[in-house]
């Protein structure tokens, strides 16, 4: 039988590798700032993580008999490794990066059939596995020591930190802003006292604070996210829903009891919220396809994040909240679909249209 090519005969310029490259590009400024701040060990860990992620991807593709070059060239493994590296403590030992990449690529993605098939965000899955398995390594934060400052390790010392771990752990580590807040609140201190001594909103915004690479500069990741929005690689629904939900929850609680609940600005600028809202939660594979579904997904993730941060046993909950909403994605997709032309649509949709008509 003749096999004619089907219409359409032209295609848009969008392609998977291009999308991934633009995401990587938009991540670059925030990443560079993070690496600059935490010096050589951060750079080594970053390179090891993304390198091993690509390597694991290639091995899995080879085993599965898929075209290695073609699929590796879509840069998805690179992005997964990159995002994972953004969530690790910058001075973590090398094996954290390698193990994390293994969890992300092999367990989080390839076991399900590779790109597009994974139910959970691979990077967040890996981070969660690492966090519950190696709590010490995963919570050893250090204060920023930019290149060129006195107490920044040189390349050799940096390599030693990545290879053998931090020599004098207690001397250099300090809690992240969210962790600090939680500890102090737990000791019965009041919020204004805690914040007045340590918290500087400007530093949190620019990113000269401790934390993982992705938890430092809220501004740069916000700008990167806006670039992606402008390029139409992500839609506004998820980030806006997450950020407004968190801000709204924080406003309500801090207005009600400012001694125990931090305000919206603190929540927005600290932790991995910006990175999570623009880069993690918007992962197309694990988020709903319809716009309303995306908004529901974002509100859910925002609520969970606030709940975990405020009442959970971990100071930060981006990974958990995204994973939990990932699990809800098939359900959301099942119930929330766009209305088909010429059909009455769902009852909820009919109700809203009726309201619109009357109002």
């Amino acid at each position: 039988m003749i096999r004619p090519p089907s219409s359409p005969h032209i295609a848009g310029r969008s392609s998977v590798p291009l999308v991934m490259l633009l995401v990587l590009l938009s991540l670059l400024p925030g990443t560079m700032l993070g690496i600059y701040q935490f010096g050589w060990p951060a750079l080594f860990l970053f390179l090891i993580t993304i390198g091993s992620a690509v390597l694991f991807e290639a091995i899995c593709l080879k085993i599965a008999g898929k075209p290695v070059r073609l699929y590796c060239m879509d840069f998805s493994a690179l992005l997964t490794g990159w995002l994972l590296a953004m969530t690790l403590p910058p001075w973590a030992p090398w094996w954290i990066g390698v193990l994390g990449s293994f969890c992300a690529i092999v367990i989080g993605k390839q076991i399900f059939g590779g790109i597009g098939q994974n139910p959970f965000n691979p990077a967040m899955l890996a981070r969660t596995v690492l966090l519950v398995s190696f709590p010490l390594e995963m919570t050893s934060w250090i204060a920023p020591r930019p290149f060129g400052t006195a107490d920044a390790p040189d390349a050799a010392a940096g390599w030693s930190i990545t290879a053998n771990g931090i020599p004098d752990l207690d001397a250099v580590t300090s809690a992240s802003s969210l962790g600090h807040l939680r500890t102090e609140l737990g000791r019965g201190e009041l919020l204004p006292d805690i914040l007045s001594s340590t918290y500087d909103p400007l530093a949190s915004a620019i990113g000269t604070i401790n934390g993982s690479l992705g938890e430092t500069s809220a501004i740069l990741f916000l700008l990167g996210g806006l670039f992606l929005l402008y390029k139409r690689i992500i839609s506004w629904h998820i980030p806006v829903a997450i950020l407004t939900t968190v801000a709204a929850m924080a406003s309500i609680f801090s207005l009600h009891d400012p001694d125990h609940y931090a305000g919206p600005l603190f929540h927005l600028l600290n932790g991995g919220l910006m990175l999570g809202a623009f880069y993690i939660a918007t992962d197309p594979v694990t988020s709903p396809v319809s716009n309303l579904g995306k908004i529901i997904f974002g509100i859910g993730a925002g609520l969970l994040l606030f709940i975990i941060r405020t009442w959970g046993s971990y100071p930060e909950g981006m990974a958990f909240s995204v994973l939990l909403m990932n699990a809800a994605t098939p359900l959301i997709d099942h119930y929330i679909k766009p209305r088909i032309y010429g059909h009455p649509g769902s009852r909820i949709g009919q109700f809203f249209r009726k309201l619109k008509k009357e109002g």
Binding site: S6, H9, I10, S15, G116, S235, P284, V289, I340, G342
Partner: protein
């Protein structure tokens, strides 16, 4: 209440480079190939025999049944043969085709034309449109007269003239509006007249400013006809999308646009109607955009229907061997297996695409990016439907809207993974069609089997009855013989 825009859609590069080139008349070639089915509905039946002499504009094949269309001779000469010739269809399979030989003398019968067709009764206009064999020239090829009669019986208060031409490359409607504004306008008036003077809206995409300007001037004197500039967005020119944009209402699934009081005709159809009703000229020629990087002299050409694409391309010249020849636009047009295929009534463009122009990217796995969901003007989830069809879950695909898909191609165009979504939907729709045909045949065969079984039982019964009757007869005879014998013996004894 017009809407702000349509749902979804895409904006491909327009490539409308031919919109400033004047329409050229193409000389009639030596032979014309006219398929008997160039429209939706039943094929027309030949009205001329082989070797019969024909004059230009004569009916050579007559409409069959209520939905069908006449076919007229675009040249004078004779019928050479009625044969199977490659159809304008991606398969290139043969279809019944009349082959005309052009004698070049352009002989024409005299036709009587009305003094002022605008005084004709609506039914008469519809009748003349039907006689002239006019079908929807935007590509749908639904017989226009049937649409008019439907509009007359349903009394549609809105008439939309579709001048969107949202497909890239194509400019034939644009040129028609620019060059033959008066004739187009006349056709629109006739359409309005045929529908008892409805509110008439000429929809033109904003990327045709010159056409909009000229049409606006032309309809200044008519209170009920106006031009509406619509956003440049594919598939604006799709019937359902345009109706929703202009009226704010959707055509319910399974219903016709006439059911919500709207009739929609194409600009080219209006032009053809003016020709037919005012000048008595049946549909024998149409404007075709010839474009694509492989064409030396792209432009708009007035082509006799039945001309082979190879002849047309030879007239326009080729720079290189085209990678793909399309009939229609690049979004919904059909790729043809070769160029020895005739131009038919619904063909608005012939594109000879070069290698670089044709989409040629490797398929990647779906990353669920939902570009297709955003692009779908109907509100479907193309990614889910394709995944189901991949696993042959036809019923599930139908449940989520396979039948509502208009095959506009926006999803495939937007897909960053280059998944052949429309191909999957073509496949699914084909399977549905075959399934329907098979079901029909199965039912028919079951009826036949039952009929035969009943008949067999009947025959069996008749046979048994006959045997029984015969046995009875034999028994009777024997009894009679016996009685006779006894009588005889009694006699003897006596």
């Amino acid at each position: 209440m017009p809407k702000l825009s349509i749902r979804g859609g895409v904006h491909p590069d327009e490539h409308k480079l031919t919109n400033e080139i004047t329409i050229t008349r193409v000389p009639t070639p030596e032979r014309l190939y006219l398929p008997l089915k160039q429209h939706i509905g039943a094929p027309a039946a030949p009205d001329k025999v082989i070797h019969e002499i024909i004059h230009k504009g004569q009916i050579i094949a007559r409409a069959q049944g209520s939905v069908s269309a006449n076919i007229h001779a675009p040249c004078s000469g004779y019928v050479e043969q009625i044969t199977d010739w490659a159809a304008p269809h991606p398969s290139g399979l043969p279809t019944r085709t009349m082959v005309l030989v052009n004698d070049g003398r352009e002989l024409r019968d005299d036709v009587s034309t009305p003094v002022n067709p605008l005084f004709l009764r609506p039914e008469v206009i519809a009748e003349r449109v039907s006689q002239a064999g006019i079908v929807g020239l935007g590509g749908a090829t639904f017989p226009s007269a049937v649409k008019l009669t439907l509009g007359q019986s349903r009394n549609t208060p809105v008439l939309i003239i579709n001048g969107c031409e949202c497909e890239p490359y194509l400019t034939c409607d644009d040129r028609l509006m620019q060059e033959r504004t008066q004739a187009v306008m006349d056709g629109i008036q006739l359409l309005a007249q045929a529908l008892y003077g409805p509110d008439t809206i000429i929809a033109i995409e904003r990327n045709k400013p010159e056409a909009i300007r000229l049409m606006e001037i032309a309809c200044k004197d008519f209170g009920n006809i106006r031009v509406m500039a619509v956003p440049t967005r594919y598939p604006m020119g799709s019937e359902k999308q345009l109706i929703e944009y202009i009226t704010g209402r959707q055509v319910p699934a399974g219903k016709l646009s006439a059911d919500i009081g709207v009739t929609l005709h194409n600009i080219s159809t209006a032009y053809a109607i003016s020709n037919a009703v005012r000048h008595g000229k049946p549909l024998t020629h149409r404007i075709v955009t010839v474009a694509g990087d492989a064409v030396k002299r792209p432009g708009n050409y007035e082509v006799p229907i039945g001309m082979l694409i190879s002849d047309l391309l030879a007239f326009c010249g080729l720079k290189e061997e085209p990678q793909r020849i399309l009939m229609g636009g690049p979004m919904m047009g059909q790729a043809l297996p070769h160029a020895e295929i005739p131009i038919t009534k619904g063909c608005n463009g012939v594109l000879a695409m070069s290698r670089a122009e044709v989409k040629n990217s490797t398929e990647h796995p779906c990353i669920r990016c939902a570009s297709c969901v955003d692009a779908c003007p109907i509100g479907l989830s193309p990614l889910t439907m394709a995944a189901m069809l991949k696993k042959d879950k036809l019923d599930q695909a139908v449940d989520i809207g396979l039948k509502d898909c208009i095959l506009c191609g926006s999803c495939s165009f937007a897909c960053p993974s280059a998944i052949p979504l429309v191909h999957y939907f073509n496949y699914g729709k084909g399977e549905l069609l075959i399934r329907g045909q098979q079901q029909q045949k199965d039912d028919e065969i079951k009826r036949l089997i039952q009929g035969r079984q009943v008949r067999m039982a009947q025959q069996e019964k008749e046979k048994e009855e006959m045997i029984a009757k015969r046995m009875q007869a034999i028994a009777k005879r024997k009894a009679a013989e016996k009685a006779a014998a006894e009588q005889n013996s009694e006699k003897e004894i006596a």
